[in-house]
Symmetry: C3
Subunit: 345 residues, 3 copies
């Protein structure tokens, strides 16, 4: 694939500054730009690189004002990041998708496979499972009995979907994801043994959800653990039984959410955060990295920090003083000494 600056500018509805005939064959990061590649500048932090990049073309925002000479041809667009994402998508689509059903896949007789489905080597599909049209199921994935996998959904290699679980349309589950393992439900007995509480519910993942590699979403004891549409979940996340994740909520890597907690819509849970069980977390809540939430959050659009977490602003104050705690102790000691003097002890 080879494109000129002119062709790209037309595709992106942009204007050219420099050599409109220059050709590129690949995309690059601006700090690693090579001749023959196209890059972009959106984050101002990377502006210095535009004066030294070897990329042949750089996409910039309309209002970008250079402070020095730039070697690359510029294409000015309304939103450089979004335009570059368009190009990434075009690039990825041009690469094509796997297709066909491997002879090494194993389907139960009663499984129903849609049109234009890809099933890789060593995929096992259980009884009465239904795979929607255009789904892509990569090798060594296991789909249990009675599962439903929606149209256009991708399951990368080594995914496990336990029996009776439902994955919506246009979802992406990355390698090693486990959907529907038993919730961690045990009743302590008087002899200190634990009695397992059977987990007979399932997991329902709505449409347009992305789930990162090796993330685990447990089935409900009863009813459903539910991931609502548009939620995005990173790698190695733990989602316990009967949890609900709201629409368009983002959950960063290694976060853990305990049983029956409901996370609202449009929340952002940063990496390695934790949530106790049976909580309600309001829409628009932001929790900073490594924080642990132990109580309900009722007010929308607030930020929490700390372990256990409290309001971010308050945490910031406490944290600043925590860092100087040695000085505070010294000040108290000085006060004590002065007071002793004053009181004539």
């Amino acid at each position: 694939m080879e494109f000129t600056a002119r062709q790209i500018a037309e595709a992106l509805n942009g204007s050219i500054e420099g050599d409109s005939g220059i050709k590129v064959t690949a995309l690059s990061k601006i700090e690693e730009g090579r001749p023959g590649t196209l890059s972009f500048l959106a984050n101002p932090k990377y502006t210095p690189h535009i004066y030294s990049t070897k990329a042949s073309i750089v996409i910039v925002n309309k209002d970008f004002v250079p402070e020095k000479e730039i070697g690359a041809t510029l294409i000015r667009v309304a939103d450089a990041y979004s335009a570059f994402a368009d190009l990434l998508e075009m690039y990825q689509q041009a690469r094509g998708k796997p297709s066909g059903i491997s002879k090494k896949a194993e389907l139960a007789e009663t499984a129903i496979i849609g049109k234009n489905v890809y099933l890789g080597d060593f995929v096992s599909v259980g009884k009465n499972a239904v795979i929607g049209d255009n789904a892509l199921i990569y090798p060594n994935t296991t789909i249990g009995d009675n599962c439903k996998i929606g149209e256009g959904t991708k399951l990368f290699a080594g995914v496990t979907v336990y029996a009776d679980c439902v994955v919506g349309s246009n979802c992406t589950l990355h390698a090693g994801v486990v959907i529907g393992a038993d919730g961690f439900g045990f009743a302590p007995q008087q002899d200190k043994n634990y009695r397992k509480v059977p987990q007979i519910g399932n997991v329902v993942i709505e449409d347009n959800v992305e789930i990162g590699a090796n993330t685990c979403i447990d089935r409900a004891t009863l009813g459903s653990t539910r991931i609502r549409k548009g939620a995005i979940i990173d790698n190695l996340v733990q989602i316990a039984h009967n949890v609900e994740i709201g629409e368009n909520t983002a959950v960063a890597a290694q976060t853990g959410i305990s049983g029956s907690t409901k996370i609202g819509n449009n929340c952002i849970l940063a990496g390695q955060t934790g949530f106790a069980g049976h909580l309600n977390i309001a829409d628009g809540t932001i929790v900073t990295a490594q924080s642990g939430v132990g109580r309900n959050i009722k007010q929308e659009n607030t930020i929490y920090e700390g372990s256990p977490a409290f309001r971010h602003k308050d945490f910031q104050i406490s944290y600043i003083h925590f860092r100087r705690l040695g000085q505070l102790v010294q000040r108290v000691e000085e006060l004590e000494n002065k007071l002793k003097e004053l009181s004539g002890d």
Copy 2:
């Protein structure tokens, strides 16, 4: 399956209040109860739902006293939660188990497979491995050479058991579990390279142990990493080489235990806790979520919190003052100002 209130009351040795002929076909959570379903009330937090639930039957504790009219038929039993767990078990048993050996499984000639074993598609069983009677091994699982899998043990899809490891009877290993990967043992060299220390021990999992999805238990350098009987371990837990987990100890999700640490019996390690290496943790210890234990815990039945952790009660005091640290600093400032005035500076 359809049952009347009378049939269920008889099975649970309970007494009926309401329509003894009413029929149910499924189980439900009380807050999501639908006509034709049976629910239960054990946690007082959920009491308000009993007045509005649409469930046809609700199991309650003998001594439950309603404050308003209730639409559902009640079945009173000695312990509602336990009775409901009985029903869950009956429900699950009624669903049956997979059986037979898939033609797509691959067994070494020297492997020994017990009676009534299920081996799913693409299960690989190594040389001299022994699989006990009634074991269930789901698809895409790998069992290494010389492993022993006990009677009635379930290995869900995509599990890996490395060579020479032992899993007891009536254990459950969820999807993606890795048993017996090399411990993280490396000797730093003078040139700053690391030299790998071979890990020639194994993992021994005793009877009645449950291990959550994608949890990793490393093999010992020498000897065995050991999970004692009745321990329950959640998802995404890291258990390093030569660790021992005591009987009936519960380990919640995303906890990490470093090399050679011994966790006692009947401990509760909450989610995302961490343990340094070479520690001894006394029986009955409780560690709260996200805490990090860096020292031995010698006294039994204590609670630890914080990172690094100390006694829970002491942590609670420090934490409360941490949250108000800004106020404390202001109080010290005021003291300083007053003292200046007093001392006539």
Copy 3:
């Protein structure tokens, strides 16, 4: 295998103290030594065990001075730990390696397989993938199109390597590792939906890298996520898109590193640590367990602790006072009371 003390002393260039004809057939930990086994003493913490061990032979440092009688034959060497590691290696090599290509493996026609490669059952190798000589690929592993796996590299069971990724020579990837899943890149839209940013880069793992079970290393948006030679990474670690891990850096279990962060050479990241995105961490940095780094670390060879982390020494002071915060508050209260008295209120 049976060896005399004399044979072992010769192999290790050591000197014997005791019965040079005594025979051993296995290795053991000193605290679990049995007759017929060989053990070692390197960590002084374990010295008391040498007087009670049942091991027939114990390897000790040249300068070890016993304080009581010892039953075992001693072999004195320059470095007991290193000598024992030599024996572990000899032991492991004697056990042999798996070999041959399973009839149940599935190779794309265009895949290139080196000499003396082991491919286990249900291994799927994609188009144009290249597997180097002497590589060992265990069952149920998936290698995507265009991947390169270096010479002598081991991929244990259930590993996934996505298309276009590169693994160097003499690497070890443990079971369940996922290399090359999409980075967590999404552009928030005005309607609060997220738009996925295609991740068209790859992962490059250089030579002599070890990666623990169920660890995830995401592919770059553009360019490469890179693990430099000699790095050692433990289980359940999250490495985001465009991260770089320096040479001989050690990353302990359950650590998470956010996008585009560069970790220097010879760093030690303890367990459950976290790193924000777009950071630069200087060579030789040590971060203690459960700490969270939110800023660049520019000075080499420093230690950081806390969440958010700051210099270890400073953290230690703050932490000590945090533990006694209740006492400090009492001291301030006393000061307030005394001052009230003094000022005659």
